[in-house]
Subunit: 377 residues, 2 copies
């Protein structure tokens, strides 16, 4: 029996945490640290870690749990106007905070647009992954997606009914069954999405998260999935993406592709979102600010790319430019954003105060942490 | 990419939970339910689950986390006089409670003896697993074990020092790093135990648990490992043992071996512990009660057998008698225990009130659950 995987896991956890803390100090999202950890430990630099079947499947499970918990917080996000602190927009939020511009109309617009952006990304993923299944025409693919959502809604009604029944019947002491049954629902929906509808498993997991969010035990369940995620699955997933980067094979062509992809990623957002902002009546400078604020890519981009890789739609070689783009965007966004706001006096607070809700959500989280700390003492 | 493991995991979680609830209703430990779940889903009955590399490694990680968390609660157990509710003695405790005899001298003796029993089991495991490594003489094996404990103590001092430093330096908001670094310590000690000292990895994990228990954040860390354990790793481990049972191959010889093993397991405890009780001045009937109360085998027996299997010391075929013995003990212990107490008037409370401490620990757990529930509302 091999026990080398113990060392692998220890290295992944240690390096993602340490580099996450380090990138956090530079106002960059922790996910950049986790990517760098995988990149440094993997074949690209030190070559002490390589992909094993265990790590691959654990990281697959990781992305399922990430989407599942994202689904659980999604409705709350829509309501509170916050986005997951881990998503691509977190870096923009931190920069805007530093500049004292989060409470402006531009800040609120970026927050709302980033949320819609992530949803669009998931829809695109659903379509692309379904079509990559092979053979089926677009109409059949769309029909299968519609059928999946009918199935998911039926599963939702059944699941919520079952949860309410359990809560009525069960002794209040037996709380563990709620997270366990929620996880079963997540795994089953993920499996059925792939097996019967040709939809990506992570879309099934996301749908299961939405279902669980509608049950009375949603907060409790979410609190139990947090440690499962950060203690094991999330670090393995993001480090696993870093491991896929193969710097030695970074030929001139790939390097050029990486830089082009990075440029397209930033320019397309600045131009595209700028146009959208123009339609919404923003001024010239504000358009640039909104566009720059949206330029950063994060988890959703990585998840889509990783999915494309495992389906064989993207080649292994393309992961290097993707990771370089994500890291590059994370480094460039704060710089560009500061330039876009340079010399401008602080604006007035936005009328539709999305940023205020974001602050309140943050405060809520702090209060809840505080309570937990007191309880633990 | 295969996604069948999603269904595997869903089936394991669902069946272990449902059968765990069912066996719980019959006053049997939940681990019996988990074993039965694996047995029913595995090749023995329905044959819908088989061992995959992913499940095997996940269950290996499972037993490491089980021993790690056992280490974290071990010192507290010694102090509070409670034993893990999941250990073999839980079935005896439940039966004694039902009979109203937990607060007696016999009850306290069983609680204390069961704890010592588990420790002796771990020491035996250390010795056997070290010797099975091959080649080395007994003296060298003992030397390596001693060296491992010296190393573990050094790691403990280093680890505790690092934790205190982190707690001083770190912002109180960043609590996640404590469980992450604790897990890194666990994985590293487990790896080093195998790699450099030829000691079982789970002994390293147990030692890491003891170290973590000595840090100021022990309670917080333990609370984060609970969901990791019951949401994923523990069900996979125990169901995995059930999967190893091969009923179709249960020949007459193996069936006879199973029954003999079960008989030896119960009689050796009744006779051996009865002798011990006699040395401590217990009367004839009390000796029988103590011996019967100790007859039940649980996690430690399964962990040792599984370990022997993975080292190649035990053959696959032997798992069937082992599982039958564990399940059989769980079914027979309450019956025998009730017979042993039959017709006897309730005794006076013990002077050294270990059972009282056990009750207090249970109440503490309930209060803590209650607080959590309130917070979640």
């Amino acid at each position: 029996m091999s026990y080398h995987y113990l060392l692998d896991l220890a290295l992944i956890l240690l390096s993602t945490k340490l580099l996450g803390i380090a990138t956090g100090k530079f106002q960059m999202p922790r996910v950049v640290g986790a990517l760098l950890a995988g990149l440094i430990l993997g074949p690209a630099v030190l070559n002490v870690l390589s992909e094993t079947e265990f790590l691959t499947q654990l990281s697959e499970l990781g992305v399922i749990v990430i989407l599942f918990t994202a689904g659980m917080t999604f409705l709350e996000n829509l309501f509170l106007g916050t986005v997951l602190t881990a998503t691509s927009v977190s870096i923009t939020v931190e920069t805007l905070k530093e500049l004292g511009r989060l409470d402006t109309k531009v800040g609120s617009t970026i927050l709302a647009a980033a949320l819609i952006d992530d949803v669009l990304g998931l829809i695109a993923l659903t379509l692309v992954s379904s079509m990559a299944g092979g053979g089926d025409g677009l109409l059949l693919v769309l029909l299968k997606i519609v059928l999946f959502f009918v199935f998911a809604i039926a599963a939702a009604c059944g699941g919520i009914w079952l949860f309410r029944l359990m809560i009525e019947k069960a002794h209040e002491k037996n709380l563990r069954r709620y997270p366990v049954f929620a996880f079963v629902l997540c795994l089953l929906l993920a499996y059925c999405a792939e097996e019967f509808f040709g939809v990506a498993d992570i879309i099934g997991a996301f749908a299961a998260g939405l279902v669980v969010a509608c049950t009375p035990k949603a907060d409790y369940i979410r609190s139990k999935f947090e440690p499962l995620s950060y203690l094991l699955l999330t670090p393995v997933f993001f480090a696993g993406i870093g491991i896929k980067v193969e710097l030695p094979r970074l030929t001139g062509t790939l390097a050029a592709l990486s830089l082009s992809l990075l440029a397209v990623a930033i320019l397309s957002k600045i131009i595209g979102c700028g146009l959208g902002a123009r339609l919404c009546g923003f001024g010239g400078r504000e358009r640039l600010q909104v566009g720059t604020g949206m330029a950063c890519r994060g988890e959703v981009a990585l998840i889509v790319a990783n999915r494309g890789l495992s389906m064989g739609v993207l080649s292994q070689a393309i992961m290097t430019p993707v990771v370089i783009t994500v890291v590059g965007c994370a480094v460039l966004t704060p710089i560009l954003l500061k330039l876009a706001f340079h010399g401008q006096p602080e604006g007035s607070a936005a009328e539709n105060d999305l940023a205020g809700r974001y602050h309140r959500a943050e405060q809520l989280e702090q209060v809840s942490d505080e309570m937990l700390r007191k309880r633990m003492k």
